[in-house]
Symmetry: C2
Amino acid sequence: MNKNFEKLKPYLEKAMAFETARNLFEWDDQTQAPIEAADYTSKVNGILADEYMKSLINDDVRSILKKLQDDKEQESLSDTEKAIIKELKKTYDQLESIPPKEYREFNELTLVSNRKWAKARKDNNYDDFAPYLEKIIQYKKKFAKYRVKKNQKPYEVLLSDFDECFEIQDLDLFFHKIKEEIIPLLKEISKKADTIDKSYNYLNYDIDKQREFCRYLCGYIGFDFNRGVIGESAHPFTLQLHNHDVRITDRYIEDNLESAMFSIIHEAGHALYEMNIDDSLTQTLVGGGASMGMHESQSRFFENIIGRSKEFWEPIYSKLVDTYPDNLKNISLDHFINGINKAAPSLIRTEADELSYPIHIIIRYEIEKMIFDNEVSIKELPEVWNKKYQDYMGITPPDDAQGILQDTHWSYGEFGYFPSYAIGSAVASQIHAHMKDIMPFDEYLKGGNLTPIREYLRDSIHKYGATKNTNQILKDVTGEEFNADYYVKYLKDKYTKLYNLEVEK
Amino acid sequence: MNKNFEKLKPYLEKAMAFETARNLFEWDDQTQAPIEAADYTSKVNGILADEYMKSLINDDVRSILKKLQDDKEQESLSDTEKAIIKELKKTYDQLESIPPKEYREFNELTLVSNRKWAKARKDNNYDDFAPYLEKIIQYKKKFAKYRVKKNQKPYEVLLSDFDECFEIQDLDLFFHKIKEEIIPLLKEISKKADTIDKSYNYLNYDIDKQREFCRYLCGYIGFDFNRGVIGESAHPFTLQLHNHDVRITDRYIEDNLESAMFSIIHEAGHALYEMNIDDSLTQTLVGGGASMGMHESQSRFFENIIGRSKEFWEPIYSKLVDTYPDNLKNISLDHFINGINKAAPSLIRTEADELSYPIHIIIRYEIEKMIFDNEVSIKELPEVWNKKYQDYMGITPPDDAQGILQDTHWSYGEFGYFPSYAIGSAVASQIHAHMKDIMPFDEYLKGGNLTPIREYLRDSIHKYGATKNTNQILKDVTGEEFNADYYVKYLKDKYTKLYNLEVEK
């Protein structure tokens, strides 16, 4: 065993403990903490965050890390240890160049600006949020400048924090393809909106029964209740303490059958990833998913590719009908499958269907690029936003609450994050295409046997945690690096068939 | 502001943060964590515990603490600061004399022995637990020896960890009174067991309705749902992150109406104490209750003195009847009040009524004294236990699971703790006697107005946190230090009346 790596361990373990504690506070805050607790609890969280930073960023670790860069040292490290060192180095690269004072100021700012954003959205008042957004962007630009390499654009620095495999040119190419193919398709479909009925979805669905059915769906997919729990929160999310404690939440809406169901399938997809990460990696710096995009690929794989397929529902749709006989007894499986796949241009990203979803991402990506290229002022943003929705979707947000104020990300400084969602969908399609080649994928679904699918994902993706990056995983699994063509083909095939559209020759 | 105290603050705040995190993990473990999480999560808890210790016990703090003992330094400290220093000094006195290696070994032992105890109780096999109990006692004796002062008995060291106001001679006197007065009373009552009917309590009571009614009771008593939550766990408990986040749990038994109700009133009593501690004290070393006994006094005050009184139920009993009309429509308020106060010799402490409860404590106290005076071997303990139950209660446990194995305390080394429960009951009676003198106590209850009672407790006890000890509080509130006579009188009056016994002249 490498002696220097051994010296590193206590620091890494301390950081892990503080991070796990912060995660538990996050879970608690979102799911059950009493409303007046926040001010006092945030003091605790502030200290834990400080201690987390101190346990990783300090002279001892810096000096050990430097020694470990040496070639000879590298030779005596295992692959996992190398991956951990690489991850730690990344943290140093991200944080070392930023003056601690500025970093602290920025963190304090985001706490305030997130609240300001929530209020501005509620009040539908962009002007109240704009000054905070401006300050956040100034900090992000400054931080990017500290870190930017030669010939690198500031926005690229931010993108690299979420996935090292995607640079602007890759994303430009990816999104160009989507725009070219999906925008016209979406326009076609919006003309045929009436051909799919979805009114059954908006009847009254008892929430206790929803809760019970969603729990059933989770178990059906393979969520292990001995290693995870389902909670409730305003916005569904997944959070892990380690691979033996993975938590997901859902929210239940009485007059919307599918909302909670597809949310829980989505979160269960994230959860399976985390539960399947190898025991030797959990509680280390590479004990999470490979990237945000990779993580989203797994949630979307389960939510959309599996969860919205006819094959998935064939063995279990009758159980759903039995749960709500009054509402569903006259809704055939085909009727239901069409309903859950109905697509249309939309204003709100988080409620968008599979087809319009990437367009929402493209709009945000293009605006973020403009911001960091200094091509747009904060004041102009709502106008730019609305124009893009009109151009790409054919609809204009009636107000900023349903427009530029809808997402929380920018309010806490997360720029460069949105593309991960679209990358996730595309990765899911690429993996799906490969899996269909090598196993009777649809037969497994029809037979209600998800085990071989889940085990394949575990053994080829999940168990590696973050020891491989997105492209390494894709190469090892599918034989090629990221390729958006599968995604475009998947969407085109699916929606052309669903809406009986003319197929281009 | 005192400069040395200022230097201390960052250490105290770090310790507070780690302690709060550990409390949240404790809550989570008891109420919702998935069952397979324990091994991985315990690693996190171990690190947090270590860091907690390191943040308090280190050379910097030791040296500051030493400086602060100086008279001049003390003069420039506020009362709260003095109390914090005193508390910190106590921690040093408790831990500094114990070699860290032994302390760690002991903590590891208790983790194992607690599990062994649980299994031994389940299997009703004392012999499986005995070797662990023996080791724990050896450690406790050794630790006590490190700390024992001249003319002090080892058991007294342990007692002082829970309440500095009670030495062996005080407890001997207290328990002697109880034995003399209560054991004969209990014997009298056991002859008249049939005069009180309680069969209504064991009918079927829908658990959802129990949950709802218990929530109502909490709010009625004054539990603030903006600053607290109710969870569920195998054994009801109270836990606070700070005074704005106080959590209680309950468990619901379908064929036992009163179990959940009185558990939640008890825990709500603890919670009110914590919620009412002053904002300036919460998140400091004196931000909890004054002592375990003082804390139990508040829970028992609400559970027994208020919660089992006819005056308390007068305004709300009809609501309970309306909740369970089939079971309770023929049960009058008097019938119900008699039922919830029915007393009898019993084997299990946690299920004991108000009258037999202190006898359970006395048995444990006497056995603990024998253990630390080396008057009994581990092997002989079950026999000693059973004999005392026969002597004092007139019944013998049919097996060790219902005898010496029933309590968890010894399995993690908590000796000297049990007396707090009895002290709590006695303190509650003393405070009650005083409150009846200075306010229309029963009228408040009858009027459904608990606010003046709660505010009095807040202003005279709760808000001070641990800045005063038990006797200081009692002196300031009632004009005298601890006096067990009120408790004996309360029990005698209440049960003599309840069972229509002849009053001694």
